[in-house]
Symmetry: C2
DNA sequence: CTGAAAGCGCTAACAA
DNA sequence: TTGTTAGCGCTTTCAG
């Protein structure tokens, strides 16, 4: 019994030891250690001009010895500023979005900012909560790409009220006064379709995305304009809305073959639906690109490896991220925020085999 | 001229307006507004039991009216705790890593934690800086997957000293006392190779990754053991180290065809090098899977779409992320940290066409 | 060149 | 049930 007790005792004390909050060394610890004041230490560490080199050296040595690490949180609280940028993004494990974050990081980090990343999972409620979280964390600025569910900007109000700079990227709400960084989807789509036309395809269908998302709307408009500018008729029945998944692409292409056999090319607003169509066509032994041309949009990594490789439009995620971050950081230290302004990143047509009717050009 | 001046005047005043630092409303503002003390407000907002429902209601209404947003930073400083988890990860725009982050997020966020994400870009120096940053930000815990350059854990010391819980995931340093969450690469590779053997392939080469990375080493060992357990000779010359890119896969396979024509299958430690090999074989008109079987590892998204579709091993990034986050959060509120402990996530073999010698099984 | 003192926004003993 | 007071760790006037 006694033994049990002492064992219990031991574990209690062990527990106590672990629980013992290892308080991090503070400026005061250093001050005490050197018999100076906290202010001197603070100034020395910040290389304040009116501190003697001698004490600077002493302080810095002591800091290293005591393994001192600045508490940025406290410093920021005092200074009334922050060093983190909040990112709200629909999904984090999509190549395009991951690239954007990567781009943001390459400019934010050297500028001394940390990223706190909040995925909305395409959900408006989550997005609203994310905004709250970021404000509560007093981020220096917010970068946001809205969720598929988001149609209005009411939940941005508290951001504006709080005076936190905000810039939108990729998926944006047009009518509000913020800087927006996005692809020129119209031109991207236009070039894409123009390319199909130049290759000699004449009856081009379009798999469009949901038209309430501005990006898809612009792609549709680019498609239409390219047809009109090249003396091809625009036929509304050749536009299939909401076809962005592989499955829908597959099904839709199957339908088209029955109802509109004249069709000889597809411009899909998403690589996934282009892929679905490609799978169906191959199953039906319809030769791509000889008899049927296909182009997608987004430049998903797989496009390079399918057969035939997929012509598509690259959206330059990294460039978008960099531009957005640069703009935000500028706004953080600037007077002027919330201007209507658009920074447009031109997309790039990536020509691969799926659209090269002219076989001579086929690449490996 | 006068007009110009007044326009300029207007813009100046506008500018002034924007520059005006919009101080966020604080607890004191609410207190003043209601003629109570800050503590009452604080307690009311935190639903403290000994505050009357009446004042709670009043306070909350006032808070909403004044658009009050809690300053978590200040609250945390006072409470001596934080609500953010730091993630150090080699790359953010790799599907596998993005999935891990996604997994982390699904458990960290509901638990009230924000993520601050620091990519090391496979660079030890950056990784070291990231650690400093996270400590300075007084994160509640750190999740880390080491860079390709990282071989020792010296830079972890300050984390241990500061008492911040840390768990490693995926790429880990074995000999240090932390929880580690990772794939069972040995078993993953073993099953992968076993599958090739079961399909009737007899001369299997291995494209290995750099062996100083433990994950690749384990995959190599799984390969070897699978051969030995199935009465196939293990031949060191059939292991090609450091072949993980598409280009190297292509070149290496080309060499093999010249030097070791007996080979009839490949187990690649990366999908990319498997793809490179596949491209070369197709160019040489060697039928896959009839004459040559191929398996990869990682389950990159493209594997599903290449022809033939690529058999590979899925690493369950989301599961890894979830497990790591759960463990870290447990440690944050627990007494015991830094135990040697391994949480092993079993990978899953994804059988596709590239390894199905038995054509009957071929799937679309 | 350095010290004293105040305060960033919040919470939590201790009082009342 | 509410108020008073102190302090988290830091920076920064204002004095000396």
């Amino acid at each position: 019994m006694k033994i049990m007790q002492s064992i219990a005792q031991f574990f209690l004390s062990l527990n106590k030891f672990y629980k013992m909050k290892k308080r991090q060394t503070t400026i005061h610890d250093i001050a005490k250690y050197l018999n100076v004041t906290a202010s001197t230490v603070s100034r020395a560490l910040n290389d304040h001009p009116r501190i003697s080199e001698a004490t600077k050296k002493r302080v810095k040595q002591a800091a290293k010895k005591l393994d001192y690490k600045l508490n940025i949180i406290a410093a920021n609280l005092r200074k009334g500023k922050g060093n983190t940028i909040g990112i709200i993004i629909p999904l984090i494990n999509r190549f395009f979005f991951a690239n954007i974050i990567s781009g943001i990081e390459t400019v934010a980090n050297p500028a001394g900012y940390n990223l706190i990343i909040c995925p909305s999972n395409e959900n408006l409620e989550k997005e609203t909560n994310n905004i709250k979280t970021l404000i509560s964390n007093r981020v220096s600025g917010i970068l946001i790409s809205i969720s598929a569910e988001t149609k209005t900007a009411e939940h941005f109000e508290s951001v504006f009220k709080s005076g936190i700079p905000l810039v939108q990227f990729d998926r944006t709400i047009e009518h509000i006064a913020t800087t927006k960084v996005f692809n020129d989807d119209f031109t991207g789509a236009y070039q894409n379709v123009k390319h199909l036309i130049d290759q000699g395809y004449k009856h081009i269908v379009h798999f469009a995305g949901p038209q309430y998302i501005i990006n898809y709307q612009k792609r549709f408009e680019g498609y239409r304009q390219a047809l009109l500018d090249n003396n091809l008729p625009f036929r509304p029945e050749r536009v299939y809305e909401g076809v962005i998944s592989r499955e829908r692409g597959y099904e839709t292409m199957s339908t088209i073959l029955n109802t509109d056999p004249e069709i000889d090319a597809l411009f899909a607003a998403s690589d996934m639906s282009a892929l679905g169509a490609m799978i169906l066509l191959k199953k039906r032994k319809i030769q791509i690109p000889a008899l049927f041309g296909i182009t997608g949009y987004v430049n998903e990594p797989f496009g390079e490896f399918v057969e035939p490789s997929l012509t598509t439009t690259e959206q330059k995620g990294i460039a978008i991220g960099k531009a957005a971050a640069k703009e935000l950081i500028a706004q953080i230290s600037a007077a002027e925020k919330y201007r209507f302004r658009s920074i447009i990143i031109p997309p790039e047509l990536i020509v691969r085999n799926s659209s090269l009717k002219n076989h001579a050009e086929l690449k490996l």
